[in-house]
Symmetry: D2
Subunit: 306 residues, 4 copies
């Protein structure tokens, strides 16, 4: 159960079977740094290129195809007093043609105050002079090397994780990814100080961070899509376009989970899901959209296994 | 401000310019009855046909095209100790092909206990013997007569409302519909005792109810899609397939709302939405899917109008 | 087998159970007039309103729910020397955001020459001075009254037909619609002098026409979606969004057709379809998109029925 | 203008920056072999793994990012007297739930006769005993290494080409791909003896082939998506889900093409496209669907450039 402090020197724009940056043991903890989506670090130095330069990969001893890699996000500490967003809604989230009303898309700066745990626009329009945003740091892009020797852009996502941009990936979350290569090869980056559902301006408040996480290899755990859990809920993620297909992936994965781990058959699982499921639209901006299918733990406590 | 008690004798399967069942005044309150999605009333008598037989229409004096009709749902009292759902997930919410795992789709009965405010399956599988669902009554289908002299099936929905099957349409909600014909012609029905996001088994717990609502004509209020508000949030609804388009409608309507009523321009509205928006997938079962775009009131209190 | 010459005096903007304009017998032929999508007739007089004002409905004696109504389009004669289109691509057929490159959407006039069977822009840009379009007249919107007492806008389409805007609905085509009400109630209008696949500028060359068609009641023929046939092919139409769902409807209807009328089981029908099917994207502009699933007659001649 | 005869020894399951199998010059011709989608060669020996093992990559001297690589497919000679398909429609091309009617999906063998240029099922159902398919050989999967150092599964496709499964990629076609890495790195494989639109059983008639192609580097030709041409037409390909987005990519690329190479502005290009465009649904089975946007050459001959 070693704690590694890892200072990255190289950043990747794809999740793939790249040279491990560090080999760690099952159960180990890592404290490391992430730079922002365009490659700027905590002091504003450009150290990587967009999209979403990744820290890693971390090779986890003992992880093999057919296993799951469990990551607990223990701390996301924002390390830069600034962030940035786009300033208009993404054209694909409004009615086609409505985009002609918008000014040209550009980057806007934010001030991040970790003392008050708030962020505000550096140069707000008059109407937003008194308006601020509570920090809810989250990881925009993380995951493992995909199958088939693929290396896939950090702009998008898939069964292996990637650029899911989900608000639910904050401090305290436990996430499982399906392992496709020896060591799993875990990458992370693209921290947001806060974000709406859907990442509908095309960014969260993009910034740099220090992250502490702990890994665990779950042997012979064949999952199809990322699974997560926090204090109150379990959830699955589906990544695809359109949202309908992302939802199908997430829903099918939750069905499988309830059947594999909670002893339910198709009918019982359908009954629970037909009352308990809540969906989050994680992002509706990236090449693959992301949908979370959540179930509160309270719905699962009265299930019987005998 | 009259209170009308209305006992329906005829039920409609389309929202259209049908003969008014009752004419009421602006500001009036109505207490009335709804029957379930297949036409059974509080004592289990069949009084209408599916899909979603509607009580109404109510002609509201003074409502004219270009106005909005505001409906406050003050009470939804379930009047029958039974409900029903389907027993397997709808084939369109899981991966294509996964449906071959399911038994044949059929109706299952529920027991509804309004004293304990819980529902449970009448004949549960063993794993669900101790499992119950807290009642959260909601209106599955309501709205006004659509434009162009149309009469549209209560299986689907549109700008005029209809079968949106949104959990958010419970007690205490305020909803605005765009008026397309004189009197608005408001219909309602299809109460669910509870339901997941997405209505993913194809039903909520379908039952009969008594509903109290109050109407208000908002003159010269041209809205594009249903808008709602509760104690904590405002929200808009988009109805379409795929989910992507339903989301576009809801998001564009929220943008319009923030610009019309909160004094924001496109950039300021985008900044607020890019942090504050939460989406609900209301239903992903009906011919038109429904998405809610929500913003917490807390995000709107610090906006400046000067 | 009467031939009726019918001069319409009223035009409808919805397909519904409206008062029959004319009652005709099974096997009868009708010669009638259609006005353009905005309501202008052959001499440019405004006689109806948009969208797509319909001639009809024609009540066909003997047609009852569960039957199919077969319409043979024998002649489409353009009766006006002018037409109109929009002048830029519809925003939904290009990448979101690409629309900002376009000038404001507006109507442009065309000159239609029925002698040379060509159309050209009335005021062409310099690059199109020598450019013209061969006439291929087609019916944009036609169909029967839908089920459930519905009346649905002629802007959209469904199982009953409607605004399908398919190039394949030209002279010589035979089309079957599922009958939902007594008499079927057949409507037609919205003739285009020519059009691309997808109706991607949002219009064909919209004009007025004289149409001759013959009706036939096919008793006890329960079809799910419009079916068509011409000299070389049979085809089915699916209407929905997204295109994926329109394609599912059209493909399923073709599967049913091959099984019902050609003696194939699921496997044999899949083999034929897996080689023979051609798809047309009829329209990708209306609220419901339309996809045609076609099979050449040559693929069906060698099937055995013994 | 060398002619290379290349016998592959290694096959790739991703399009990526792999070690070149052969370096060739601009203008060179290659004669090589492809194995089938599951890795079986002309004599039925297994020499690679699915999905779609690729021959190549071919490094073309002088090709650099920002160029286009033009490939002329001069000959596709089927080299094996057998092929295979699936025997039922893919679940995603029929209405959800219709799939329960189908037997379990499995592989069926075909006999390919290159003398008569026909294929027939090895063990046909009785109804198909006399039924055969004319050979129209095509390349299912080909393209170049994608940008960002990616290596992407040959199951899917993107701007760089990939598994597009388009009937139009037969003998005589000229295709251009956008070059993202030095040498382009061209891959090819997955020949089909014939196929419907949409590849709706999930395969064409999968077989082995000998292919002759000639490469040409088009310097400083920044295209966004594959472009093709044959004797009668030019076309563009968009790859994405849903079909709506694939169509948007293909349509936007055609707009760009007409503006760049044919001297049209947005309005003139829209007029031409609004009459001339034909769409093909290439595949509606793979992770990314593919749509072709075609324009007949006859529509382009009367354009003026002065």
């Amino acid at each position: 159960m070693t704690v590694h402090t890892f200072a990255p020197t190289r950043f990747y724009n794809s999740l793939g079977s790249h040279e491990p940056a560090l080999t760690i043991g099952d159960g180990d903890t890592v404290v490391t740094e992430t730079i922002d989506a365009r490659g700027f670090d905590r002091v504003g130095r450009k150290r990587g290129d967009g999209p979403n330069p990744m820290t890693g990969p971390f090779h986890v001893s003992g992880a093999a195809p057919g296993d799951a890699l469990r990551i607990r996000i223990e701390r996301i500490a924002i390390t830069r007093p600034t962030g940035w967003t786009f300033q208009v809604l993404s054209p694909n989230v409004v009615n086609p043609g409505a985009v002609v009303r918008f000014p040209v898309r550009k980057v806007t700066d934010w001030v991040i105050d970790t003392a008050t745990k708030k962020a505000h626009l550096a140069t707000p329009p008059a109407t937003l002079r008194d308006w601020s945003v509570a920090l809810e740091p989250m990881i925009g892009c993380f995951g493992v090397a995909p199958a088939l020797g693929q290396a896939i852009s950090t702009a998008t996502s898939g069964p292996y994780g990637g650029n899911m941009d989900y608000r639910g990936f904050g401090e305290g979350v436990d996430v499982m990814f399906p392992v496709s290569v020896a060591g799993g090869l875990f990458f992370l980056g693209d921290v947001h100080a806060a974000q709406s559902d859907g990442e509908i301006v095309g960014t969260g408040i993009e910034t740099a961070a220090e992250i502490q996480f702990t890994v665990q290899v779950v042997k012979a755990k064949a999952i199809g899509w990322p699974r997560g859990a926090n204090k109150n809920e379990i959830f699955t993620i589906g990544n695809a376009r359109p949202l309908d297909q992302a939802l199908q992936h997430a829903t099918t994965e939750m069905l499988d989970w309830l059947m594999q781990d909670y002893g339910l058959d198709e009918v019982a699982a359908s009954h629970v899901m037909g009352q308990a499921v809540r969906y989050d639209i994680a992002n509706v901006f990236n090449p693959a959209y992301s949908v979370a299918c959540r179930i509160g733990r309270k719905w699962l406590t009265d299930l019987r296994r005998d």
